[in-house]
Structure formats: structure tokens, C-alpha cells
Symmetry: C2
Subunit: 455 residues, 2 copies
């Protein structure tokens, strides 16, 4: 794998995201002696920055069209109103907003979260909710309280890279179970769980993204939802339902959450990162009573309490802004971008195949036969387009024939330009395949930690 | 131990902090069946709410003088200016402040943190800094990357309850090493480490609070600082220097950080929670290069990235407000409260003994012989005064002859009233000792998770 001969940027289109990766990328591993090398915990041994991360430092340059990130498009937010609201908050409730708060989260916000979740059929009590630093922290805490090293987590194939990173960091074994156009396949899930039970494996969690899947783009059908919950219950496996995109369907009403079928068998994770703004880092978990108690204790051990400033800002936004209309605007914005994406794919990349997601941020694209997404990435970045190779979304190293293309952040015009560039790269790769029988293979897995660039 | 016959409040003087504990306290363990009881990870088994937490739900009632918490007093902050600043931030840089950011933290803020740390003799580069969700998260992440179950962490005797909770949650064994009026005692530290080495124990961290110790109130003398660092280095133990209070000395200049003596041997933790405002949850770690790399990966796995909204608010405050003068004001405020505390102790509790802290938030009080701080707490809360029993600050269950009294949040008048009430409780306990030979003993350790109430 030859890195592109470009200079890492310090100023980019998305400066904040770029800084981290640039710093990480700019620090070559192994060139300085680590005096603490022998002191790390076992769980830290798998923690290393992947080649992909280093590349993303470059991919954040403004001349590169990034179809890689999961950043929402925030220009449409009523920033002036939010500015006023922020000032009022500090002026009138500053000594609360700037103080330590509850480990479980602000009570008013937890009540508002109940209202938000009712849109997806969840009936819960504010006591059942734990506010977290983004839903990523909820993922971390749930894994922390359930997973011993060697325990199995069953996840969709493919699954969210950031969740796989969490499971790996707790030394879980991840076993994938297939999805199709209607999401996780119950029959195959049952086979997976039966096989694991027969092998004497301890399965602790079934991790599922039910709506507008990251990276798969699909949603679990209504018919399958109760069946999946029932199967998990029968095998004694807690369902971990991660739902960042559920309210971002383009042409359909929100589907009932898995949680609504079995509140005692499902931990539900939500977030304001995609429907409002990720910069506050406000997510949440809803859990069965005893699990929720442990989540609060784990959260307090981890951060004492979530930010009151952030929580009260989100709470005030929910109380004073027309957040439902804002979500509708987001839906229309992202639908237009989805259309630009699939339109450009049809025009420029007919040799690939893809699904047409009915919501969310991502298209999952199968490359023409013989191509390796990970090996292709450096050449794509040189051609000024970035994507996430499918391998990032599998624990077992598969997925090299897929790429995730996100349509959330770039404008429709940039999306079309990005797909055009990608098509050029694919064409060159196909030429190489024709000449040499292969376009170059990547080796090994992506041991990616989750990162904001891949969210 | 008889709980006081008072009704848990929902509205209190510190509503946010009270909500969490009330929720936890209101949920009696074991009365509802936990269907997931058999699924928890080993590390979760020690996670349970202590009796003390339940009591603090009551202690947060307005009629109770709480000398228990570590909340800074925020009334003195320039709230109008901070309000304006917050509005400007969203108005002019909203799409950055509300967006995902770098996993390592905002680059400008990391530069400003370098300036802050220079006051304590630290020479570091912004690349060495990782911004965290309060320094509590830094504690969690450092422990996560270094500590295997069964590894030893050496901590001062006593030590910060929130750190002990983190070490326990990673199944570390904590071994205490004594402090005196000049802080951690090098000769005894050396004995501790030599004993552990001889016993074949693997010591991963030496956890130290060098300035205005929580709960001890003491600081490590200048003469001892290089010696402690040298001893740790000789035994191959990484120093974890936790310094929330270093700039809050009442009558002295900040002392050089342990980090300044050996940047490769020390991970330094800082926070804006005590010098500005805890509600933003902005802390940081400075670590040797390779450790810092792993910290960033662990941070991203845990929360993707710290809040841009919080980080930019703190960064703007540092850039536009006279934060040094604000810290001076805090020092004067807390000095006055320290004086009220030690004055009241001398007046009302001459049978106890205590130190006169030269900075920070806490006094460490030795009770008269025969008293048990933990057994006394429910009776104190009934008498409308709260403290943290010394047992919370020891891993091994000792400390029952001490209480931590904090003077940061209540007014001088309330502090004097609180000590007066405490003196009444102590007098009653001493009567019981005289009659029965004991005032009642508490049993078992406090398995406290860290909580905002104990911060």
C-alpha cells in the first residue's frame, strides 16, 4: 500500500476533525522509544492508529471531496436563535449550567427525551434514561458493564465501525450475522445464536442499528422486528439498539423501536448528534431498571456527570425551538443529497451496485469484481475523493469489496463531483485488474479505533 | 445503622446533584428482579450504590448544611460576559462549535492549556495534551490503558474517592502509602514499593494529588517532589499526577508540578472545573508521546470526541476574560471560607484535630477517640449537617476516625453553623461512648462509585 505523496494539511475544510488525525498521522509509530511499552494493559494492545486514519488527515483537505465522514450538515440550523438561547441560559441559570450536575443527567432533559422517543413507540419513564456524552459513551458503558474478555457480541454484517472499536477495546469477540434489504435476517440470526450456543460461547449482546443502517443504509422491516427481539430473548441475549438515524427517514414515518416490543430485553441508545448538533455531545441510553442503575454508576466513574452546559442548551432548544420542523428540513436536505448520490452512481459507476437508502446518511456500494476498497483508498485520495473501505465495518477482515459513501455533509454538486472522481479511480483499477489479474490487495484487518472521521 | 426518618426531597439547594442521588436512593436494590443479573461483566460486580449515596439524597435538602460536596462557588463568575461570549461563539463559529471535533481536543484550547500549565513549571507541546470530559475521564482513560485486573495502583492514604472508584472499576488493587503535613512521605513510599516488588506485585501507577490534597488538605513539599518522581522512576512506576487545585493556593505561589521534574515519567491531569466552571466538563491529560497516542485512541472509543461547544466556550473565556484575576478572586473567597472553617472548629470542636489547608477546598478532621465517622453520618444528617466519612477515601476500609469537611460551597456563616451542628452531634456521640464504651460501629467498606456529590 503506497501512501499518496501529498503533504498533510493543517488548515482544512473541517479543521477540527482534521487536527486530530493530522496529529496522530504526523506521529509515526515506532520511531520514538516508548518507555512504558511493557506497562500497558492487555486491552490496550489492540489500540493503534490504522493506516486509514493517517489517510484521513489528508482526506480532510478542502480539495478532497470526502464521502467518508458522518458529520451532519449544520448550516441550516437557526444559529442566531441558538446564540440568543445560549446567552439567556448563562444569564438566567448560569450557576446551574456551569455547575456539576447529576450523574444520570438533567431531569428536565430526561423528560424531553421521553417525548422524543415516543415518536418511535417507546414508552419509558425519565428514571429509565441515562444521559451520556454522545451515544458513543453509552455504547462504551453498556459494553463495560456486560462484556468480559472473550465474551461474544453479535453484530450485523456489516456494522458501525465505532461500535466494533468499543467491543474490541473490551476484548470481546464479535460475530457477524447477515443483513439484507430488510435488515437483520431473523432466520440467520437464529442460526448464528444456535451455532454459538452449541460451541459453548457466551453471547452477551446483540448489537443492532435498526434504521438507515450505518453503513448498510437498510432498515429492519416491521415484520422482522418482534421476531428479532423474541429470538434474542429466547437465547438470553440483551439487545443493544443503536438508533441515531430513526427520525431521518425521507418518505416514511418512524418505525417502532425494538425497545417498544420488549423494554426489559433491550437497551436503547439515542442521540441528538444527527437531529440537532453533535458538538454538544448529548446522547442517552434507556435501560431496564437494574441495568440503568449500573449504567449510572459506570457513567459517574467515567466522567462524574455529563455537561450541564450542554444538556441545558439541548433542553432549551427542545423547549423553545420548533425541533420537529428542523428535523423535517434535515430530512429534505438529506433526501436531496441521497438523490444526488444515487443519481451520480447510476451515471458514473454503473459497474458497481448499491442500495437506495430511505433515510440516514449512507450508501453501501459493492465494487466491481476484483477490486479491493482498502487498497484503492490511497489512490482515491490522490484523485481527491475519500470513502471508508468496507473492511472498517467488519470485525473479521471481510468487506474489501464494499465502500461506504456518505451523502450527509457535502453539497449535491460536490457529491456528484466526488462520485465522478471515484468512477475514474475505479476505471483505472479495473484496467489494472485486466492487465495483472488484480489491482493490489490490502493485508490484515483495520484495527480502527472509532474516530470522529468515521462516525 | 439507622437511617434518619426524613423524606427524600425532590427540590433542593443543589437540585441537579440531588436528582441523581435521589433517583439512585429511591431505587432499593434487590426489590425488583434483575433478569440480567447473570450477564454482567466481572468488573460490574463491585458497582453498587453505597449507603452513603442514599444519605446524600437527604443531605442535599436546603435545611442541611452540606460540608460534603466539592462544588466550586460560581456566583462570582462574570455571568453576563460569559453569556455574551456564548452567544458570539454560536453566532460567529456555530457550525464549528456545534459540530464533531477532534478526538484529541481543539488545537487552540490545547495551546491555551500549555500557557495555564506553565504557571506550574510545565513545559509541554500542544501535541502532548488530550482534552477530556473533566479530568475524571482522564483518570478513567489512563487506568483503562494501563491496568489489568489484579495490577496494583499505589495511592496516598487517604486518596480521592473518585479515583479509588475508577481503580476499583478496573479491578485494580489499591495500596495506600502514608502522607504527613508535607504530603506523600518519600521514605515510606520507597518502603511501600519495595515491599510490593518483594511480594512480586505489578505496580502500574502511583496516583498522587500534589497540591491541597483531596481529602488531606496538604501539599507535597518542594524538597520531596523530585525525590518522589525519582523513586517512582527507579521502580518503573508511572506517576499519575492529579492537580485540580494547584492554582488555588491562598498565600503562596503555585509549586512546580511533578511533571516538570520528569515529563517522560508523569501523566499530568488538569481541569477547568475548580478554576473556572465544572459544567463544561473540560479537563485534560498531558502524557509522554506514546501514552498520549493511546489515550487519544481510548478517548475516541469512549466518546468519539470531547464537546466542541464546551471546549470553544472555555477557549473563548481564556482568550477574552481576565481568568487570572478570576482565580485570584476565587482564592480570596476560599481563604475566607477556610478561615471560617478552622475558626469554627477551634471554637466548637476543640476535642477534634485538623490541619489548616493552605489552599483548595478541604479540611481533614480527626474525630475524638472512640467515634466512628460512618456510623455518625445518619445522626449528623438528622441534625442537618453532612460530611464525607473518612472511610470513603481508603480502599481498605480504614479512615473511620476521620471526616472530610469541605469549605468551598457554603457561605462562611453556613460553614460556622454547620460546624456548630457537627459539634453537637460529636458531643452526643461522646456521651454514648462514655455510657456504652462505643458510639456504634459501621461495618464493611464504602464501595462508592465516584459521584458528583463527592467530587
Amino acid at each position: 500500500m503506497t501512501p499518496p505523496t501529498v503533504v498533510p494539511a493543517t488548515e482544512t475544510a473541517t479543521p477540527a476533525a482534521a487536527t486530530a488525525t493530522a496529529a496522530t498521522a504526523g506521529a509515526p509509530t515506532g520511531t520514538r522509544l516508548d518507555p512504558w511499552f511493557g506497562s500497558y494493559a492487555d486491552r490496550a494492545h489492540g489500540m493503534r492508529a490504522s493506516e486509514i486514519r493517517a489517510l484521513f488527515a489528508v482526506a480532510n483537505r478542502p480539495e478532497v471531496v470526502s464521502l467518508a465522514g458522518g458529520m451532519p450538515y449544520l448550516e441550516g440550523l437557526p444559529l442566531d436563535a441558538i446564540a440568543e438561547m445560549s446567552a439567556d441560559l448563562v444569564r438566567t441559570r448560569g450557576t446551574t449550567a456551569l455547575q456539576y450536575g447529576s450523574g444520570q443527567g438533567d431531569e428536565t432533559l430526561r423528560e424531553q427525551i421521553i417525548d422524543v422517543m415516543r415518536l418511535e413507540g417507546i414508552e419509558a419513564h425519565p428514571d429509565d434514561v441515562v444521559v451520556t456524552t454522545g451515544s458513543q459513551q453509552a455504547l462504551d458503558l453498556v459494553t463495560r458493564i456486560f462484556v468480559n474478555p472473550g465474551d461474544v457480541v453479535v453484530a450485523e454484517a456489516p456494522s458501525y465501525v465505532g461500535a466494533l472499536g468499543v467491543f474490541r477495546s473490551y476484548q470481546a469477540e464479535v460475530v457477524h450475522s447477515p443483513i439484507d434489504a430488510d435488515g437483520l435476517v431473523p432466520e440467520l440470526l437464529e442460526q448464528t445464536l444456535a451455532g454459538l450456543a452449541a460451541a459453548g460461547k457466551r453471547v452477551k449482546l446483540l448489537y443492532v442499528i435498526p434504521n438507515y443502517h450505518n453503513p448498510g443504509g437498510v432498515s429492519i422491516s416491521l415484520e422482522r422486528r418482534p421476531r428479532i427481539v423474541e429470538i434474542a430473548r429466547r437465547y438470553g441475549v440483551l439487545v443493544l439498539e443503536d438508533n441515531p438515524y430513526g427520525l431521518l427517514g425521507f418518505d416514511e414515518e418512524p418505525r417502532p423501536a425494538l425497545h417498544s416490543y420488549d423494554p426489559e430485553g433491550v437497551v436503547y441508545l439515542g442521540t441528538f448528534s444527527k437531529t440537532f448538533a453533535p458538538g454538544y455531545r448529548v446522547g442517552w441510553a434507556v435501560a431496564p431498571h437494574a441495568v440503568r442503575e449500573k449504567l449510572v454508576l459506570a457513567a459517574e466513574s467515567s466522567i462524574l456527570c455529563p455537561s450541564n452546559a450542554s444538556q441545558l442548551a439541548v433542553s432549551t432548544y427542545l423547549a423553545t425551538a420548533d425541533w420537529m420542523s428542523q428535523i423535517k428540513q434535515f430530512r429534505e436536505l438529506y433526501r436531496e443529497r441521497r438523490d444526488a448520490m444515487v443519481g451520480a452512481l447510476a451515471e458514473h459507476l454503473p459497474s458497481a451496485s448499491w442500495n437506495v437508502p430511505a433515510g440516514g446518511f449512507y450508501t453501501w456500494v459493492k465494487l466491481p469484481d476484483g477490486l479491493d476498497a482498502r487498497a484503492m483508498l490511497p489512490r482515491a485520495v490522490t484523485a481527491r475523493v475519500a470513502f471508508v473501505p468496507g473492511t472498517a465495518f467488519y470485525y473479521d477482515g471481510s468487506g474489501s469489496d464494499h465502500v461506504r459513501l456518505s451523502f450527509c455533509f457535502p453539497s449535491p454538486e460536490r457529491i456528484r463531483e466526488g462520485v465522478r472522481r471515484l468512477a475514474g479511480v475505479v476505471a483505472s483499477e479495473l484496467d489494472l485488474v485486466q492487465i495483472f489479474g488484480t489491482a493490489g490487495r490490502s493485508s490484515g484487518r483495520d484495527h480502527d479505533a472509532p474516530s470522529p472521521d468515521l462516525s
